[in-house]
């Protein structure tokens, strides 16, 4: 898959940043696609990637939904897990220490049903070992707004972000994770940035449905589910492109269907400073490390000395050339 150069390439500086916090790699896992990291330990060195993004954690332990929880779809899948997880207590007691002991950095994804839930979670994470920052999964139904998803509403999104920013450890950058299922993603992005988000994660899954031709009912216990995987990559890239064009100074953690280094490169060129690898991990549990290597090669091949120089590069004016051998 990787475009291996025939000649030895000058090594590319792959240092990336998460809202100002430096990372050794721009490649992270995606929330819900790596659990809390442990299970991927046999497949690659977890300290070699930017961070493990944890499964979204809530205040209380959650069982998640009844099965079936997933269906495969063309070049993707839909899932409806229901945020099964140990809750913040379990995270702090069992998961974060395991990661911290091994020097693995984490970006903790938090989810809630009320603005205060998010704030409380951020507060609880103050000073937690190894935590690089907080990803706010606002693609959750807002119990105070008849279940409308926070991320579908710029005001509700801004309220959560502001509360989290106020409650969180000042050293923790706060990334708001956006849903693509909106008419105008730029307005939600802007609301989050104005409310103090240090960065934006995009995209969460698209709402989808699959019907089982045998039972002739929806496959998923939850009826609808989230569509992920390479199928959605063009939508994710479009969102990153639009938001970077409108808000060029807001850091973006790009995701949605990244499977190879060249996929990751597209997100970087569109404006993402770092990327998360989600569903591809199910296909290839060592994908994050492989993608880091492939991306480094791809950047080197294109004459980039530093990852940072490639961020947003596809937005350059029509007459601007390319770096290195493309110049």
């Amino acid at each position: 898959m990787t475009m291996l150069p025939e000649v030895e390439l000058p090594s590319v500086d792959m240092q990336a940043s998460l809202g100002g916090v430096p990372m050794v790699s721009p490649v992270l896992t995606a929330s819900g696609c790596a659990s809390f990291g442990r299970e991927l330990d046999p497949f690659f060195d977890l300290t070699s990637i930017g961070a493990v993004v944890t499964k979204s954690v809530q205040l209380r332990p959650r069982s998640g939904r009844a099965t079936p929880r997933m269906a495969e779809t063309p070049s993707g899948m839909i899932n409806s897990i229901g945020l099964q997880g140990p809750g913040i207590d379990g995270l702090l007691a069992d998961e974060l220490p395991w990661l911290a002991e091994r020097g693995v950095r984490s970006l903790v994804s938090i989810a809630g049903a009320r603005t205060e839930d998010f704030a409380e979670l951020a507060e609880r994470l103050r000073g937690a070992p190894g935590v690089l920052g907080i990803e706010v999964n606002i693609s959750c139904p807002n119990v105070e707004s008849r279940g409308e998803v926070f991320a579908c509403n710029p005001d509700a999104s801004a309220a959560v972000v502001a509360a989290v920013r106020a409650a969180a450890d000042p050293a923790h950058p706060v990334y708001a994770k956006l849903t693509p299922d909106v008419t105008d993603i730029v307005s939600v992005a802007r609301a989050c940035a104005d409310a103090g988000a240090n960065g934006l994660s995009m995209i969460n899954t698209l709402l989808g449905l699959v019907i089982d031709p045998d039972t002739m009912r929806p496959v998923l216990g939850g009826v609808t589910g989230g569509l992920s995987g390479p199928a959605i990559r063009p939508v994710a890239l479009r969102c990153v492109w639009q938001v970077h064009a409108a808000l060029p100074n807001v850091p973006i953690l790009g995701m949605g269907g990244i499977r190879t280094g060249l996929d990751a490169l597209q997100f970087i060129l569109a404006g993402a400073g770092a990327v998360s690898v989600g569903t591809a991990v199910f296909n290839d549990p060592s994908a994050p490390a492989r993608i880091h290597a492939e991306l480094a090669d791809a950047l080197g091949e294109r004459g980039f000395g530093r990852l940072a120089d490639a961020v947003g590069y596809a937005h350059r004016a029509p007459d601007e050339g390319s770096p290195g051998r493309h110049r």
Partner: protein, 327 residues
């Protein structure tokens, strides 16, 4: 029958395998402890197909993969990437390991939909990406315990290695192998070579005794000190019930729809009573596929039992899923 006082005791064998006596759970009144994890972590790599032959309605593949073959223990499985480099199928297919030896392992594939059909169509010389060994192996009984093996459909294949191992350790082994019809019987030769009594059943009477495996199992279970079963869920439920009713510990290898196979996605869960007596959604890939038969809440599979740990936090999730809630 060999039962002891209920204390958990691990017997270390010269091969490094750990033997867990299938005894009543301490304090929970259950017969089986949770199966301990495998000793060797999984690896990922390309395996070369060295043999393919039709076995009644199935295809038996033999693959060269020394890492996996050496680490594998009976009850474990592998996960194959399917469809080749340009595949629209992102998710791996989990297949039980049927036999190992000489750096090779074999699997019995039932061609169901596109992915398993692709697998069954592999030819000698083809390479396939495989992750394994995965999941927890069948715990072995204390020396001298007579064992009853019960296999349904291709599930019987997963018991072949176990049967051989038990016999080589001097256990008495009985086996019941059943299927809908003669064509869907599996591993009859291999299991009949190690088991006596050995009974075959078919639902339609096309081979062996007419009817389900439960008939012969009911007859044989009281002579057994432990029961091992692999096959469709309803069969596992019935066999586990028969064993538990007679006070015989049982181990069942379940088959739940899996997206990742390595423990990171939470799609493969089913309600299982934990060591502490509390029920949780356990992952059949990494907490299983082998569970103590009396710990699996078969009747509740596919539902969300209200007493599950964290079920109380799911109130909002009972409405159709919003896109971000779904994960």
């Amino acid at each position: 029958m060999s039962q002891d006082d209920g204390a958990t005791r691990m017997v270390s064998l010269p091969t490094g395998e750990r033997v867990l006596p299938p005894v009543p759970g301490s304090g929970t009144g259950l017969l089986g402890q949770p199966a301990p994890p495998a000793e060797h972590p999984p690896v990922q790599g390309l395996a070369v197909v060295v043999g393919s032959r039709p076995v009644s309605a199935y295809t038996e593949l033999t693959l060269e993969a020394p890492d996996i073959a050496e680490a594998a223990r009976p009850g474990q499985f592998v996960a194959f990437a399917v469809g080749g480099p340009t595949s629209a199928m992102l998710l791996r297919r989990s297949i039980a390991i049927a036999g190992v030896g000489g750096g090779r392992f074999s699997v019995v594939v039932s061609a169901k939909a596109a992915g398993s059909t692709w697998l069954a169509g592999l030819r000698p010389g083809d390479e396939v990406d495989v992750v394994g060994p995965l999941g927890r192996p069948f715990p072995l009984p204390p020396p001298g315990t007579p064992a009853l093996l019960v296999g349904g459909g291709y599930g019987a294949a997963a018991l072949v290695g176990l049967g051989g191992l038990l016999r080589s350790r001097g256990h008495e082994v009985a086996a019941v192998v059943g299927a809908g019809d003669e064509d869907r019987l599996c591993s009859v030769e291999d299991l009949s070579a190690v088991a006596a009594p050995f009974v075959v059943t078919t639902d339609d009477g096309s081979a062996g005794r007419a009817g389900r495996v439960t008939g012969p199992v009911a007859e044989l279970v009281s002579g057994a000190g432990v029961v091992y079963a692999c096959g469709p869920m309803p069969m596992l439920a019935a066999v586990a019930q028969l064993a538990t009713d007679r006070g015989v510990p049982s181990w069942v290898a379940v088959e739940e729809s899996m997206a990742c196979g390595v423990g990171v996605c939470m799609t493969c869960v089913l309600p299982v009573v934990g060591a502490d007596g509390r029920s949780r959604f356990a992952r059949s890939c990494t907490d299983g596929p082998v569970f103590a038969g009396d710990r699996v809440r078969f009747a509740d599979v596919g539902t969300l039992p209200p007493d599950l740990l964290g079920a109380d936090a799911m109130t909002l999730a009972h409405t159709p899923a919003g896109e971000g809630e779904t994960p």
